[in-house]
């Protein structure tokens, strides 16, 4: 199973070889999609965890959190204000993860937050500020 997470590092934990440990001890295939860590400061890293047993992800997340690094599923980071949305499609054109797509029969947006890679393009593309993403803030 696969899942995307945003790891939030504090200044104290930024030097920990967390990914090495995730690979070695928890058997997780880690794919770094995006990282923003400035030296000596807080940062965020967008990662995809791929593992055969879901149990291992759960215990890995428990360990990550125990050392002071936050771990939030990306699906929870993207919010879509469907009520304010007019289904114009300005966002769908820039979403290359497949999370936002236009249904070309109903011409309504379909948003699948599990596919989101938190690139943030939809946030800027939407003329009605319908998308919010707190990655990197």
């Amino acid at each position: 199973m696969k899942g995307k997470y945003v790891l939030g590092y504090s200044a104290e934990t930024a030097s920990e070889p967390i990914l090495w440990k995730l690979v070695k001890e928890y058997d997780i295939r880690v794919n770094i999609l995006r990282a923003e860590i400035s030296p000596g400061q807080e940062g965020n890293m967008l990662v995809e965890f791929d593992v055969d047993e879901e149990r291992k992800i759960q215990s890995a997340i428990a360990w990550i959190e125990s050392i002071g690094v936050s771990c939030v599923s990306v699906a929870k980071r993207l919010s879509w204000n469907e009520e304010a949305c007019v289904d114009c499609g300005a966002c769908a054109g820039v979403c290359f993860s497949g999370a936002i797509a236009m249904d070309r029969n109903s011409w309504k947006l379909e948003v699948d937050r599990d596919k989101c890679t938190a690139c943030g393009l939809c946030v800027k593309a939407c003329p009605f500020a319908c998308f919010l993403l707190d990655f990197g803030e």
Partner: protein
């Protein structure tokens, strides 16, 4: 058999409740089976619709005279500048006027708030005159407290518009949306076969005085819009291949609703107004039946490169292809995406169909035709003043 019908005959059918009214999409679908001659017999009115960004929009407000009165010269509405150079207590608030401290908030938001019935803080000042002694005023206005709110838009409902892409190596944030580098996406902005001026490309039934569904109210065409251009090349269906005719629209904003008037913000461009506009087109004869039955595959536009000065054309493309989501550009499959809401355009055309069929939306012949010939020129900055 003569298939012609007069405006009066169509209006009589509407009054009798037996007019056949269809949307432009339905007319396009019917034309698959029926030639224009048969279509002209079968349908009486075709309704159109579009819901997209119309930057050249704004609203006149008459606030009423306070006691003692003031000649309002500098006016802000929730901090956004309104133009006060129209007599004493009139103002014009443009959709693209930006709040000095918040680039994401502007005139469009003020227009939407007032239409929705919300309170807006008005501040105004003037020098004080013998007839208008007051120098400053600060009060809260709503649509019920002002005399008039008249949406007055110098350029709406463009007859076609180029699709945009970007061949440079950096992302562009434009009024045509986010254009990613390397021309990997193309944005387009009209509602295709539902777009009003695509269905009457030579303005036989659309002119000054034509009733218009605008923002949820029934307004009218006041004049041709600015940058009205009849000189753009047309395809064999008579449709211009890029932005051509425009309409100046007016309507009573007090009767409009947030459903059809929405403030928007384009990243690093500014604010604009999404507006619902629709026109009902009478099928007077075979020629009009031919025009209203136009399909997306028969409407073409030009893909332009917004990364290069002058936005050079890259290729011609039809709307069926644009709406499919993928077009070919420079030999590669490229994503195409809309900026105006086709879902809302369809809803608008369906609502207009209901209004026309029930006799609530009037059909009048234009009192004056739109210009037969008009072209647009750029601003010659070297012309200077005559000595």
């Amino acid at each position: 058999m003569n298939t012609s019908k007069s405006w009066d005959e169509i209006n009589a059918k509407i009054a009798a409740g037996n007019a056949v009214v269809v949307t432009a999409e339905e007319a396009a679908a019917m034309s698959e089976e029926l030639p224009p001659k048969e279509l002209a017999k079968k349908i009486d009115v075709v309704t159109t619709g579009t819901f997209g960004a119309m930057c050249s929009s704004g609203m006149f407000i008459n606030f009423g005279h306070p006691e003692p009165p003031i000649r309002m010269e500098h006016i802000t509405l929730d901090g956004v500048n309104a133009y006060g150079g129209v007599a004493a207590v009139d103002a014009y608030i443009g959709a693209t006027e930006i709040h000095p401290d918040d680039p994401r908030f502007g005139g469009a938001h003020i227009i939407e708030r007032l239409i929705a019935g919300e309170e807006v803080l008005m501040r105004a000042s003037g020098k004080g005159t013998d007839c208008y002694p007051r120098k400053e005023i600060e009060t809260v206005i709503t649509k019920d407290r002002v005399n008039e709110m008249i949406l007055t838009n110098p350029r709406n409902a463009y007859q076609n518009y180029p699709a945009a892409t970007n061949t440079t190596t950096r992302t562009l944030h434009t009024y045509m949306g986010t254009l990613l580098p390397g021309a990997i996406n193309v944005n387009y902005s009209t509602s295709g076969c539902l777009s009003p001026l695509m269905n009457d490309p030579y303005f036989r039934t659309i002119g000054v005085g034509t009733p218009v569904f605008i923002g949820g109210a029934i307004g009218s065409i006041a004049w041709n819009g600015t940058q009205f251009n009849t000189e753009k090349p047309r395809n064999d269906r008579g449709v211009p291949l890029s932005n051509a005719a425009t309409l100046m629209l007016v309507g009573d904003a007090k009767k409009m609703s947030r459903e059809w008037v929405r403030a928007a913000y384009y990243e690093r461009y500014g604010t604009t107004l999404y507006l619902g506009v629709g026109i009902a087109i009478p099928v007077l004869d075979e020629d009009m039946a031919y025009h209203v039955s136009i399909r997306n595959s028969e409407i073409e536009t030009t893909v332009c490169d917004y990364g290069v000065d002058g936005h050079p054309a890259m290729r011609r493309i039809n709307y069926a292809d644009l709406m499919s989501g993928t077009i070919e550009l420079r030999g590669k499959k490229t994503r195409s995406s809309p900026l105006s809401s086709l879902r809302k355009a369809r809803e608008l055309a369906a609502e207009l169909k209901r209004l026309v069929a029930s006799g609530q939306f009037p059909l009048y012949a234009p009192v004056r035709q739109l210009p037969e010939r008009s072209s647009v020129r750029g601003l010659d900055i070297n012309a200077g003043r005559k000595a």
